[in-house]
């Protein structure tokens, strides 16, 4: 592949946070979504975030992905402090390094699968060919379909193709299989793992399916806005062996 795939030399940190907090609202109604998160994520790893609903997983992911801002504390991407970046620099960061996969796919309804991928590929510095990205998620025959003509799993795979097409440095997936059945979900996870191993993309996956943890390099357990436990997984399994 290209250079961007290997720019994350093993051993280097992709993300580091210290005392990261996020408060929604103020006064008595304030919600502490993150309460001082200290975290290190090495480059190239596939990390799974687990935790009860409302524990702050999405919030953390959004801040690391540069689409939300922290209330206090620091978050670093490699050596750059995300929490200190201007809007413009955050935009550049997302543009250059980040791929997103959302729970509800969030495809542009008025663009075909191919065009949805193009949308991101067009602003990337070194994208892979759109068809290659679609091929990676097994959607070549569906390229010209509109989102409304695709099943949930297919839409999610378009979303993954869209996220990986730019050869991102990091890939964020917020419950990518949340809306899918187990079998389709496995297909999506395979696509993610494929990207992680082949391109070396640092990948963060939020999921409620604890079994998914089996395919991760690292599993972070979240509760109440804080990290409970971080487990390094020495016996990664293939997604094929996962079911929920």
């Amino acid at each position: 592949m290209s250079e961007s795939a290997v720019q994350t030399a093993p051993g280097k940190l992709a993300f580091r946070t210290s005392d990261l907090s996020k408060v929604y609202g103020e006064g008595p109604a304030a919600v502490h979504a993150l309460r001082g998160v200290d975290l290190e994520i090495p480059s190239g790893e596939l990390v799974v975030l687990l935790g009860p609903s409302g524990s702050g997983k999405s919030t953390l992911l959004n801040i690391l992905g540069g689409i939300d801002r922290a209330s206090s504390g620091q978050a670093y991407f490699q050596d750059d402090e995300l929490t200190a970046m201007t809007d413009r620099r955050l935009t550049a960061y997302r543009r250059r390094h980040v791929g997103f996969v959302f729970q509800f796919y969030n495809l542009m309804p008025s663009l075909t699968a191919h065009e949805n991928v193009d949308l991101v590929a067009e602003i990337a510095t070194d994208p892979m060919p759109t068809m290659e990205a679609l091929d990676l998620v097994g959607l070549t025959p569906r390229a010209t379909h509109f989102p409304s003509e695709l099943s949930g799993g297919e839409q999610q795979r378009v979303a993954i193709a869209r996220a990986i097409a730019k050869n991102p440095t990091v890939l964020f997936c917020d419950e990518p299989t949340g809306a899918l059945d187990s079998k389709t979900g496995v297909g999506v996870l395979k696509a993610l793992q494929e990207v992680n191993t082949r391109l070396g993309t640092t990948t963060l996956i939020i999921t409620h399916a604890a079994a998914t943890a089996a395919m991760a390099d690292r599993v972070i357990h979240f509760a109440d806005g804080q990290i409970r436990e971080v487990i390094e997984n020495d016996h990664k399994v293939s997604p094929d062996e996962i079911s929920w």
Binding site: G65, I67, R88, R94, N106, E115, L119, I123, A179
Partner: protein, 791 residues
């Protein structure tokens, strides 16, 4: 940024297509405003240009100098005056045309015309038949409008009484003339083609008919560029004084031209004042609609940003989106405006009897139209996009923030108690976002305001008409005499079987003079306790004219800068032509024109012509109508007979068919704007709530129940809009009435509920239609995909 715009552009095109109904509605709203502007602008230029070209091509005279009898050689003397380009001495006289089917003789103007002249002053446009022969004395050219009104054609014969002698003429051809663009019967203020004839004879025939061998009675002249009007009037009056000059006047005082210029000025005022209001309203609406449209794209904006597109990319994208709509509106409006301008121009061409129309398609208006709508749309999009991009993408993408609803306190709680759940949803939603609700109501109200304004406009005209024909003039017939007659004529009229009431009037044309300000007008002398033709003020109260002085309309007093107690100098323009000094005893506000009233006896005393009348108003027994007409026909010296019923009809026709078309178009546009706005508001409300509505359906609510949540909200907003629209309409019309009023015409602001009711019906109908469309959308919600895909 443009390099990767292609995919976004594709999204843009598809999105435009997806909201095509809405886009079309917005395009129509903006097009309505723009086309009105383009139309009136183009029409105004075209009419002015046409008038100018018409006058020039047929050498319409710059000045008229009537006399009783001036020898032909005087023409030489006149042509030697500095500033005179060309001069002709012609014979011009009054006549009466008798038609078998007409109830009364019809006033005519008869003029000598040299059929062999290459380029005569006051030439005619021969539209049918052929030119009169220079040798035959029994041939005439007839004014085409009159011929058309009576179905006369070349080859027919016409009976005309001139100088008391009846002649029969063969119609050689039909003609249009710049001198008779406006065909006004004497003593009338409305065009009536059927009751005014102009005819042209060769010189020999005219000399014979009016005993003017080797003489003329009217000099018509054209100016050279350096002409000095005042000097020429004085010189002509001096030269013609020995020959019974009645006073030279310039083109500005020529009756047809005067009315044409006045009419064009009014049109142009209307064209200047009305379209900007429509444009302003449609721009305001465009702004609201675009803002809300972009708001519905909030999540997509967040998503695009999450991918790394910059704020600028997003802004440019939505700018293109709204510009496409706005420019569509501008182009449709411009094209439509040109088309309408041509159509209306043609209507006016026929109305004014122009032989041709110079249509000027003005490209400067295209630029203005594009600029206006682009700016308005951009401004609307700018604020919406700015508020969307200032959100972090995570927030923007979150499902439309469920607003914090409270069960409410006190009042709200009390009402809620009586309501079912869907009604509560409507109520809570409106009270949760009162700003948004008010803005929508205000938008609908503004659109309604235009309809209210148009209705008030109609009311004002109706009121003027009502005052003119039912308060001021309550007669059935007005008879005018060739010259002031003894009041025995009144007795003569009274003795006609079928005439129930006769009321004489003595009016005289005069030149008012005060402090070197001159004004050509007339004094109307009314009898004590006038009943058929009254002088009333704006409150419709009788004006007190019992004294010896003259009572002036406020407008006239303003022009002359004169106050009660001052002496007014009055040069009488008939009979012995005395100059009188008359005290101003009062000033009244008058609705129409610049009248000056006196007691009839006092006026006659001043004129030293006791017991003279210049006309009479009659009330007649409708069953004996024809008999009365026949008797009046037989009275010599009757110059004209005007029937109020016909005048009323003519006026109504004019309002409907002539300049009134302009008003009809504006009315239609106000409806289009209202419908477009209501539809868009409904659509946007639908888009914003599609998921909620789908959820309701999933929960087991019927289509009707689901639709109710949305349509109930729409209906509530429409109802809130009614008082807003009424107030706005009233404000707009008050402004318009003031702007449209001239010194001569006071446009009243008449408050009538029917105007509001009419506009309310338009808004409610538009709401019902929009509601029907939306209900159809609700019925078609694809539950699965509405809940599955998030956008």
């Amino acid at each position: 940024m443009l390099a990767f715009a292609s995919i976004l552009d594709r999204k843009l095109l598809r999105d435009l297509w997806r909201i095509k109904g809405q886009a079309a509605a917005i395009i129509f709203v903006i097009a309505a405003g723009i086309s009105l502007f383009v139309m009136s602008h183009g029409m105004m230029i075209s009419l002015d240009e046409t008038m100018r070209a018409y006058y020039e091509r047929y050498r319409f005279a710059d000045m008229y100098a009537p006399a009783k009898r001036a020898p032909d050689y005087i023409v030489e003397e006149i042509s030697a005056l500095p500033g005179v380009n060309d001069v002709e001495g012609r014979i011009s006289g009054g006549g009466l045309v008798t038609l078998p089917e007409a109830p009364a003789p019809i006033s005519a103007r008869v003029m000598s015309f040299d059929p062999e002249a290459a380029a005569p002053i006051n030439g005619v446009h021969l539209s049918e038949g052929r030119m009169i022969s220079p040798t035959r004395q029994d041939e005439i050219l007839l004014l085409k409008s009159f011929a058309d009104a009576h179905g006369l054609a070349p080859g027919d014969s016409l009976s005309v009484t001139m100088n008391g002698v009846r002649h029969s003429f063969a119609i050689a051809g039909l003609a249009l003339s710049p001198e008779f663009i406006y065909a006004l019967p004497p003593g009338d203020f409305v065009v009536d083609d059927a009751r005014f004839a102009a005819l042209w004879l060769n010189e020999e025939a005219m000399e014979a008919a009016y005993d003017l061998d080797g003489a003329f009675n009217e000099a018509v002249l054209t100016f050279s560029p350096n002409a000095n009007e005042e000097f020429l009037i004085a010189a002509l009056d001096r030269i013609l004084a020995p020959y019974g000059a009645t006073g030279a006047y310039s083109r500005a005082d020529q009756i047809s031209n005067k009315f044409l210029v006045e009419e064009l000025a009014q049109l142009s005022t209307m064209g200047r004042v009305m379209p900007p209001i429509f444009v302003a309203v449609s721009i305001f609406l465009l702004n609201i609609v675009v803002t809300r449209l972009v708001q519905t794209e909030r999540e997509q904006i967040g998503l695009i940003k999450a991918f790394g597109y910059s704020n600028r990319d997003v802004a440019v994208h939505y700018l293109k989106f709204v510009l496409a709509i706005a420019l569509g509106g501008a182009l449709v409006g411009w094209g439509g405006g040109i088309w309408l301008g041509r159509m209306i121009g043609e209507i006016y061409r026929i109305y004014f009897h122009f032989p041709f129309l110079v249509f000027v398609a003005d490209f400067s208006t295209l630029g203005i139209a594009l600029a206006i709508s682009a700016l308005a749309a951009a401004a609307g999009a700018f604020f919406a996009v700015r508020s969307a991009v200032t959100l972090t993408p995570a927030v923007a993408m979150r499902p439309p923030a469920p607003p914090k609803f409270a069960s409410g306190d006190g009042f709200m709680k009390t009402i809620s108690g009586f309501l079912d759940q869907p009604s509560r949803m409507i109520l809570r939603r409106l009270s949760r976002q009162p700003g948004r609700a008010l803005l929508t109501a205000f938008g609908i109200g503004a659109a309604m305001g235009l309809s209210v304004m148009m209705r008030f406009n109609v009311n004002a005209t109706d009121y003027m008409l009502d005052v003119s024909f039912n308060v001021v003039d309550r007669s059935d017939v007005f008879v005018s005499f060739v010259e002031p007659l003894s009041d025995k004529t009144v007795l003569e009229l009274q003795s006609i079987n079928g005439v129930t009431l006769v009321e004489p009037v003595r009016s005289t044309p005069v030149m008012f003079n005060h402090d070197r300000i001159e004004f050509l007008g007339g004094i109307t002398g009314l009898p004590d306790k006038a009943a058929l033709n009254r002088a009333v003020d704006t409150d419709l109260q009788d004006v007190d004219i019992t004294g010896d002085g003259v009572v002036l309309s406020e407008q006239l007093a303003k022009i002359l800068e004169i106050a009660p107690g001052d002496m007014l100098s009055v040069e009488v323009r008939e009979g012995r032509r005395p100059t009188l000094e008359i005290p101003v005893t009062g000033i009244v506000e008058s609705l129409i024109g610049t009248p000056a009233y006196m007691n009839m006896d006092a006026l006659n005393r001043q004129l030293k012509e006791p017991n003279r009348v210049s006309g009479a108003y009659l009330k007649i027994d409708p069953r004996l109508r024809q008999e009365v007409y026949n008797e009046i026909k037989a009275i010599p010296k009757v110059a004209g007979v005007s029937l109020r019923r016909e005048a009323y009809q003519n006026f109504e026709d004019m309002i409907d068919e002539g300049p009134g078309v302009f008003r009809h178009i504006m009315t239609v546009f106000s409806i289009i704007i209202a419908a477009g706005v209501v539809y868009n508001s409904a659509r946007i409300a639908y888009i914003e709530r599609e998921r909620d509505l789908a959820s309701l359906r999933v929960l087991g609510f019927t289509k009707i129940e689901t639709g109710y949540v949305l349509l109930g909200e729409l209906a509530t907003l429409a109802i809130i809009a009614l008082p807003i629209g009424s107030a706005l309409g009233y404000l707009i019309w008050s402004y318009m009435a003031a702007a449209l009023s001239t010194e001569l015409y006071q446009i009243p602001v008449i408050y009538k509920e029917d105007g509001l009711g009419y506009a309310a019906i338009i808004v409610l109908l538009a709401t019902a239609f929009a509601g029907a469309f939306i209900q159809r959308d609700v019925a078609k919600i694809d539950l699965a995909s509405a809940l599955k895909t998030r956008d």
